[in-house]
């Protein structure tokens, strides 16, 4: 059997708040294989965000081990973590987090700038990714000139541009209406079918239904790990009346 893309062993995260300690994660051992589409669910304070921060190399665990693509990353320093994020992980956020007053193309290029890719190659790759998310015509638009759905597509293009090992999306549909959310899930499913590993944090069961696997968190632990028969967002989109 191949080594899973993500392998965590007894992952713990303890925050210190004054004198008291908050155990955000209390020993999580989860494997995610390449090509999976995982939804991470749970109420707020359940530890799902902490888990995603650790998986995304934004933070380091207090205890436990985490291997990404077979490499232990739980003890890397700040800059090494930044490199790992840059090469291996594409982030999608609830509020898009695009740079204001910066054209879509330059927003997509941002990770490549930190990867040290030369300008000409950067432009070409960013343009290609914008085309992939259906925004080839909008590359010089500012985020303020784009709709919420379009902004999130730019953010996805930015996540994809470094050809990462996985996409981590934190409530990606939280700021979008239901039809736009459906379009976005169709895009994630399409990427997943192309082989991309996708992990989505959500508290909406409607969104989780499109994932092949659902992890439920409660009080810092995984309380259920189920395999789903995922709904096809693309087909649902075709069935609904166009907006």
């Amino acid at each position: 059997m191949r080594v899973p893309l993500i392998q965590t062993q007894g992952l713990e995260k303890i925050y210190r708040l004054g004198d008291s300690e908050v155990r955000a994660l209390a020993g999580v051992s989860v494997d995610i294989a390449e090509g999976e589409f995982v939804a991470v669910m749970g109420p707020s304070g359940s530890g799902k965000s902490t888990f995603m921060n650790l998986i995304g190399c934004l933070d380091r665990p207090t205890r436990g081990a985490y291997a990404l693509g077979g490499q232990d990353v739980s003890t890397l320093d700040r800059d090494a973590l930044a490199r790992t994020r840059n090469r291996n992980i594409g982030f999608v956020f609830q509020n898009f987090n695009l740079l204001a007053r910066t054209p879509a193309l330059e927003n997509v290029e941002l990770p490549l700038i930190y990867a040290g890719v030369p300008a000409a190659e950067r432009h070409a790759r960013a343009r290609q990714m914008l085309a992939r998310v259906g925004l080839a015509e909008r590359s010089h638009h500012l985020p303020s000139q784009l709709s919420g759905g379009q902004q999130q597509r730019v953010a996805i293009a930015r996540a994809l541009v470094t050809q990462p090992l996985l996409i981590l999306a934190d409530e990606p549909t939280g700021a979008l209406d239901s039809r736009t959310s459906l379009e976005l899930m169709a895009l994630f499913q399409e990427l997943n079918r192309g082989g991309m590993t996708v992990a989505i944090v959500t508290h909406e069961p409607d969104v989780a239904r499109f994932a092949g696997r659902v992890l439920r968190f409660l009080d810092g632990r995984v309380v259920s790990d189920e395999t789903n028969v995922a709904l096809d967002a693309g087909r649902q989109l075709a069935e609904t009346v166009p907006a």
Binding site: N53, G56, L58, D59, R78, D79, A82, R83, R85, N86, R87, F91, F93, N97, L99, A100, R101, T102, L110, P111, I113, Y114, A115, G116, R158, T162
Partner: protein, 410 residues
């Protein structure tokens, strides 16, 4: 991430808050322009003093006759004719590297044609010109026969030429001084103002005996060979103070003064006085620049303040940049370049304003100003350093943010 990319990010960020960026720069603009104007004014004053030293001639000693006490009333320096021309000759003869020129002074009315002019009359020897480092613009100096024979010849200064002759060539002309006709044999070069602001070109030189016998006469003379002042030039490379001591010792010996008694003359080292003036004007320049620098530092604090606000405002942006792979030094560089861009643009605008201000001072106040590229470069370099120094703390604060918290920041 290269500098051009960082600069583009910085300019875009600064363009977002144009008014705020402009106000932040204002501190640096004022600071840099103040430094440039102050240094220009100070350097101008210093250059003036240096020019006066050159005009006076360096390594110059001035010996004045002592004060005379008459019935208990002490009269001023020069009232007692304790010096005579033989003292001057003795100095030239006996002290190596010293050349002395004796002089008697007085005032007289000059008449040429229907023009007349009141000026200072100096009776002296031909050594007067080399001692004062003064050259003739035209003509010649007194010949030995004219010296001994009290010939009625004179050399006139540029002011006298202008006032009396206008455009006419004065050489060979006859002017009347106290009803005595004199032939103009030489014209002095322009020397300008003395350090006291008096016009040094407003004078007539004539042989010592001519002045004493024919012009100043008995009214100011007590002794036949007496002189009011002796100018002494010390050769270049010699210690003026050491020569001054030798001159003093020689004069005391010639005047037969007992040890412990006061000098009956006054010896002044002019170069020393001028050097003190130069030093004080240099200190003034430094002081002005230091005061102006304070405003630069205040401007730097303004930059730090705004950069701290900017870092807080853009916490989310910093978190995003970190999430997509920005390392500590990328964020540090970004904010440092932004602060330095602020201070450098401010520095350049300040330079333009400072140069304009210096010209305005020169024109409106009529002061002498001296702009040097060094001062301009120094002010801009200082602005750059201010940007680095005051930008570093906010930049480091940004670079040390925790990406998780930065992304969640509202």
């Amino acid at each position: 991430m290269n500098l051009a990319a960082l600069l583009r990010i910085a300019l875009r960020a600064l363009a977002v808050n144009k008014l705020r960026s402009a106000l932040t720069m204002l501190g640096i603009i004022i600071g840099v322009s103040a430094v440039i104007v102050m240094v220009a004014v100070g350097a101008g004053a210093q250059a003036r003093v240096e020019e006066q030293i050159r005009a006076l001639g360096s390594n110059l000693l001035l010996i004045l006759s002592g004060a005379r006490t008459q019935s208990g009333v002490r009269l001023g320096l020069g009232s007692n004719f304790s010096l005579d021309e033989d003292d001057a000759f003795a100095i030239t003869r006996e002290i190596a590297g010293a050349t002395a020129a004796p002089a008697v002074r007085g005032g007289a009315q000059l008449i040429w044609g229907n023009a007349n002019w009141s000026t200072a009359v100096y009776g002296t020897t031909p050594e007067y010109l080399p001692v004062r480092q003064w050259a003739l613009a035209a003509g010649r100096v007194f010949e030995p026969a004219e010296m001994s024979g009290a010939a009625k010849v004179c050399i006139i200064g540029q002011t006298v030429v202008k006032q009396l002759f206008g455009a006419t060539d004065p050489l060979g002309q006859s002017i009347r001084i106290r009803r005595v006709p004199f032939t103009v044999i030489g014209v002095l070069e322009n020397k300008g103002q003395s350090m006291m602001g008096t016009d040094q070109d407003d004078l007539v030189l004539m042989p010592l005996n001519t002045a004493r016998n024919r012009v100043l006469g008995a009214t100011t003379l007590a002794k036949q060979r007496a002189v009011g002042v002796i100018w002494v030039k010390v050769d270049d490379g010699l210690d003026t103070n050491a020569v001054a001591d030798q001159v003093r010792a020689l004069l005391r010996q010639r005047h037969r003064l007992q040890a412990g008694t006061d000098d009956d003359f006054s010896l002044r080292n002019l170069a020393e006085i001028m050097a003190a003036r130069e030093a004080s004007s240099r200190i003034l320049t430094i002081l002005l620049a230091a005061v102006a620098s304070v405003s630069l530092i205040v401007g730097g604090i303004g930059i730090m303040n705004i950069m701290l606000v900017s870092v807080t405002e853009r916490t989310r942006e910093i978190g995003l940049r970190m999430a997509v792979g920005a390392r500590t030094r990328d964020i540090l560089g970004q904010f440092l370049v932004e602060a330095v861009t602020l201070s450098l643009i401010g520095g350049l605008i300040g330079t333009l304003l400072g140069v304009a201000g210096a010209f305005a001072v020169a024109t409106l106040a009529g002061w002498r100003v001296l702009l040097s590229t060094d001062a301009v470069l120094l002010a801009v370099a200082f602005a750059f350093l201010i940007g680095v120094f005051f930008g570093f703390y906010p930049a480091r604060k940004a670079a040390r943010l925790n990406p998780v918290e930065a992304l969640r920041f509202e």
